[in-house]
Subunit: 343 residues, 2 copies
Amino acid sequence: MTLRLIFILTLFIAFSTIGCNPKLENNTKTTESMKKATYAIAIHGGAGTILKKNMTAEQEAAYLKALNEALSIGEQILKDGGTSTDAVVEAIMHLENSPLFNAGKGAVFTNEGVHELDASIMEGKDLNAGAVGGVTIVKNPILAARAVMEKSEHVMLIGKGANQFAIEQGLDTVSNSYFYTESRWNSLQRVKANQDKSTGMLELVDYKFGTVGCVALDQQGNLAAGTSTGGMTNKKYNRLGDSPIIGSGNYANNKTCAVSATGHGEYFIRYTVAYDISALMEYKGLSLEDAANEVVNKKLVKAGGEGGVIAVDKYGNIAMPFNSEGMYRGFATPTEREVKIYK
Amino acid sequence: MTLRLIFILTLFIAFSTIGCNPKLENNTKTTESMKKATYAIAIHGGAGTILKKNMTAEQEAAYLKALNEALSIGEQILKDGGTSTDAVVEAIMHLENSPLFNAGKGAVFTNEGVHELDASIMEGKDLNAGAVGGVTIVKNPILAARAVMEKSEHVMLIGKGANQFAIEQGLDTVSNSYFYTESRWNSLQRVKANQDKSTGMLELVDYKFGTVGCVALDQQGNLAAGTSTGGMTNKKYNRLGDSPIIGSGNYANNKTCAVSATGHGEYFIRYTVAYDISALMEYKGLSLEDAANEVVNKKLVKAGGEGGVIAVDKYGNIAMPFNSEGMYRGFATPTEREVKIYK
């Protein structure tokens, strides 16, 4: 009987240890998502009050076309064995060059009626990063962010200095009026009219639309994330949002995931959104989906911060949660592909 | 015998559940540090190659005097029941007004021979935050950061816009030459001379000295953190370091801790240093000391990122790890007080 008791107890110890070891718990979750994709890519073109009833069929088609093109550009690079950094940069350049999104051509207007652009990029392999804030003459701000990462010993350059650095790096420059689109000009007038009627506070109407971003896992197992934006319509005082802030609007770490955010930037800075998703995975063993959901659909919702993220983990799993009405988004892996706008 | 077996097994289940519940494990650690102080404050005046052999007795006395004064200003506010935000701002203003530190008066020179100042502040109660980057005419940049937090809907303003905002808020402005000190001018000449001799790369000699910061816990249980700097000697292209980046150089959260960093800013941005300490406490249940040590003495050392942090947790525990030769620092609680420079 005593022997039987010892045997039962031994079995019990073995099972209870498995059941409650946090490390094993993590491994279980990891295993679930270990159907490792050889590559994966996700893009976004901004989150906000994007409703089907407010879109014409032509507008919808134009957005889907631009998103599909950008996705294909990045996808092809990854399929051919290229780097996640190249895929991210090329996909974002395509979105920056489209007048549909609030980045590059098509960027929103500041209160003074000009364009100030922000962008950032990060590589998961060695946590290298680069960012520019408030550039005014760089055709593709994501290229300036990449140049800061690769060609300077700095991480973040702003304003005139960032313009100057881009010029010295031989990047394409344009006059600020290149970024003009009629629809963004009309948005500024609308926002200013609303502002006059109300308390004089800035009206936060259009900020949500159009920040672009891309995250990718390449066949070498390296993650990268990039984000580019014109910021908030009618912004004043050289305001920076989360897009050029490493850890807030953009983050990549081969240990965990790559994240690009879009939304009400002030909340994304205060909640260190992009790095928080990575920390929840690394420190609490959450899956990519659970971590992204926790931050976007719990923490941010509770705080009142509208927006979303795209994220890819080191296994090629993809998460694209948003707490707004819609988010221009798409993803591709060797086996799946999807481009969507609404919930 | 069967009854006895059931009894033993029941006991075993109870104990094994307690032993492996991660929540209880956290609570144990928390209890260790629960000798809750009614208030606590820590300050820093920068970390770097600060060696006793390079300091005269007069220099050492001057630094200790300035640190003691700043600490006493903040301490008195907390003792009188004031807010952690007031304590942080007033202590930092004293360090900004001292020519000894690289913040406000005494800020380093850019490559162009001017001064560009960064500052940030965050409150742990509601994660409110404000920051300015590259201001040139604001006498006390920490006041501009506070005004952004309290008087705007934004978190971060940069350059001319941030100057303009400070003017509209009625803050004291000065000409850029107010920030001049002979020793910083000489540093710039020295760095430029070294630069010419070597590869033309920027010489990262003086960046480590003098960023200032303060963290505090007030009697209401609210944490706050503030950081202010002139950045890196000979910096170009309107470079921003970690000091104005929420989550990197500065962070506060009543759930965990308040952190202000000083060091080679590029590493502190890439490693999201300030928020990482908070995340290690919240998600892994580490004590303040263990979390700060993990980031400063393990992660940053491995990456090659020199510097340190000051941090206070919600119980009034204080940690001040640095991986450089020295850090100007001090702390005070109702029962302890210390001001130090070297290791």
